[in-house]
């Protein structure tokens, strides 16, 4: 009985207009924003566009009564630190919300410590709390492989994994899980946890940024904070990027953000020490090459 009613309700239209759906759902806006706000990442953007089309078509089929079972949307993002995984996850949450695959569209970002407890009986409630908070949205698990510690057979991570797998399977309509981390470690993680591999439909690789891309990212960040480079400080930034990349703990765009934060600090110091009398907005927002050149990277040190 109920099934028949369902079918009737589903098939409410006889024609769909994909282009119109694309615009009216707001998916077009999000993809445009993704293109504009993120520098580089071409393979990632292509994959997301493909996935968005697939999901849009799926929804259209559903409205025509061509019922398919709800697709698996769980994803894995692999790439080095600071390659924009969290940022993209946030965009995907918005995308899935517009497409009607999640009800709220918020992103809950966690690591092992948020899921795994310290003593017996601590882990299950902790994991469930996080899962419940993420329902209606996207759960982003950074460095997911730390959940699995085969060297310690009594590690509570296994308990979190089991609950996670269960919910990923049984509550597919309620939340989307994104596992993120370094590529090689993720690959190993999936090898030893086939349960995850089979539940994840979309694997997306995040490439490292080129020096040019990082410089472009630096410019976007700087103007986003209402600061400006000039020709000389831009050159200094380019040089900084080249040197910083060769150092340990290089974290792509995140390293750039940190460098800019420190440059702002030095800029403020410089402006404060050199200014007598009233100064204008131009002066306050100009980042000079000295603000960058004073970094430890240029004197053989290491920037975090």
């Amino acid at each position: 009985m109920e099934n028949e009613d369902d079918k009737k309700e589903l098939k409410t239209v006889s024609k769909v207009n994909l282009k119109e759906d694309f615009q009216s759902s707001g998916v077009a806006d999000i993809l445009l924003e993704l293109d504009n706000s993120l520098i580089g990442l071409e393979p990632v953007k292509t994959r997301i566009r493909e996935t968005a089309s697939l999901l849009l078509v799926d929804k259209a089929r559903e409205r025509l009564g061509l019922v398919n079972e709800s697709p698996t949307l769980h994803m894995s993002f692999s790439g080095n630190p600071g390659t924009g995984k969290t940022t993209v996850a946030l965009k995907i949450a918005g995308l899935l919300y517009r497409l009607g695959y999640v009800r709220k569209g918020h992103l809950v970002s966690v690591t092992r410590d948020d899921l795994v407890g310290q003593y017996i009986g601590h882990t299950a409630p902790k994991t469930k709390e996080v899962l419940k908070k993420a329902m209606g949205g996207v759960l982003f698990i950074d460095e997911a492989y730390y959940l699995y510690r085969p060297e310690n057979e009594r590690d509570y991570g296994q308990e979190a994994i089991e609950i996670l797998l269960q919910v990923m399977e049984n509550n597919r309509d309620d939340l989307v899980v994104v596992l993120a981390g370094y590529k090689d470690k993720m690959d190993k993680f999936f090898e030893s946890n086939p349960g995850f591999r089979s539940r994840i439909a979309h694997h997306i690789d995040f490439p490292d940024y080129s020096n040019d891309e990082l410089l472009e990212i630096a410019e976007v960040m700087v103007s986003g904070m209402n600061y400006k480079f000039n020709k000389k400080s831009k050159e200094a930034m380019a040089e900084y990027i080249e040197m910083r990349r060769k150092q340990p703990h290089f974290a792509n765009a995140r390293s750039i953000r940190n460098a800019i934060d420190r440059a702002r600090l030095r800029q403020a110091n410089r402006v404060f020490n050199n200014s007598e009398g009233p100064i204008g907005a131009t002066f306050l927002s100009q980042i000079e090459d000295v603000d960058i050149m004073q970094s430890r990277v240029f004197s053989g040190g290491i920037d975090k």
Binding site: H106, K132, V167, N171
Partner: protein, 139 residues
């Protein structure tokens, strides 16, 4: 005898989808939700057992339905209700409460008559099910 109490007592039992929508309404109003269960349906039994903590910060109703299903796994033969609390007056006050699970068989209540002074009669009711000890009432 079908026990009724709470906000939607005059309606047939809700489906999970309907429960989801009511709960979402509560969440969108900023109310905290609690799941409570009992095997003593006496109308004056106001303190039911709590299933975990009240839930304050889950934006989506799926979280509550998830806990409800967990609770059903353990207490599927009991009464379960969902209670919504509003803390905006400065204290937690119940805004809404409704039964979401009930035993398959509800034997109902026995009416007791006690004759007291002056041939007056004092009435009381007691659930047939509560003759058995707590925990073994509905199987």
């Amino acid at each position: 005898m079908r026990v009724t109490q709470g906000t939607f007592s005059f309606l047939p039992d809700f489906t999970d989808q309907q429960i989801h929508e009511q709960v979402q309404y509560c969440i969108d109003n900023g109310w905290a939700l609690s799941i409570e269960h009992t095997d003593d349906p006496h109308p004056r039994n106001t303190y039911w057992e709590m299933w975990g903590h009240p839930m304050f910060d889950n934006p989506d109703a799926a979280a509550v339905v998830y806990e409800l299903n967990e609770c059903r796994k353990v207490y599927g033969s009991h009464y379960i209700k969902i209670v919504a609390f509003d803390s905006s007056p400065g204290w937690e006050s119940i805004r809404l409460s409704f039964i979401v699970n009930r035993p398959t068989e509800e034997p109902g209540f026995k009416l007791n008559r006690t004759e007291i002074k002056g041939r007056n009669i004092q009435y009381s009711i007691s659930p047939y099910s509560s003759d058995k000890p707590q925990g073994s009432r509905y199987k």
